[in-house]
Subunit: 102 residues, 2 copies
Amino acid sequence: MTLNLTESKVQFLESLADRTRLRIVEALREREKTVSQLVQELGATQSNISGHLRLLKISGIIKSRQEGKYVYYSLSSSAIADFLTKLEDMLAVMRREALEGA
Amino acid sequence: MTLNLTESKVQFLESLADRTRLRIVEALREREKTVSQLVQELGATQSNISGHLRLLKISGIIKSRQEGKYVYYSLSSSAIADFLTKLEDMLAVMRREALEGA
DNA sequence: CAAACATATCATTATATGTAGATATAATTA
DNA sequence: TAATTATATCTACATATAATGATATGTTTG
């Protein structure tokens, strides 16, 4: 079976490789939030945030639950938070190595 | 604060969020390779590969050394290989959780 | 020096993507 | 029920990006 892993990696990376979406995901690291909370926190338009949330949900990065007129979004897995931590650690290592001339 | 961390994360993710570039980086996980080796291995045009290598180099993801008429490219840090492993592990976890209905 | 080879760059074109504004849908409250 | 609030969707537009073909640069070798 020729399961193309590369494609799914690319799709995941594309989903996070946007300033607005990455900020959304980082905001959701703290706790679940509603669309309007994210709109206010990120200072973007509602339709913009809503569109990015849709994309992140399709990618499986976030999930949502409705409570009354609010929709709460959260990370779909703690593995995503771990991954973001790993990304930060890696960038720190790269910066350090670049300074050392490694 | 010099550079916003979010921006550098986005830049790094953008660099890998392309099928051709990700395949290049994965090919370089094994060992350093020349442009023509990558052209043959990936089946893309030389100018295409060259352009992507340029971008990856600017992003600090790969480095190069010239030996005669060949230019060898390699990952700039083993931290990048580790990061790719983490990405794979995370996707595996997400797939498993999705099946479990977690 | 000229030919062959390896790599880089440039110009063009096609496609993808992000954004805003308008509008639709749905839940809540007066 | 009407008004309000929260969220989603659609359209249009501007910009970014990837791919290609042609060409330029640089290196080796006959």
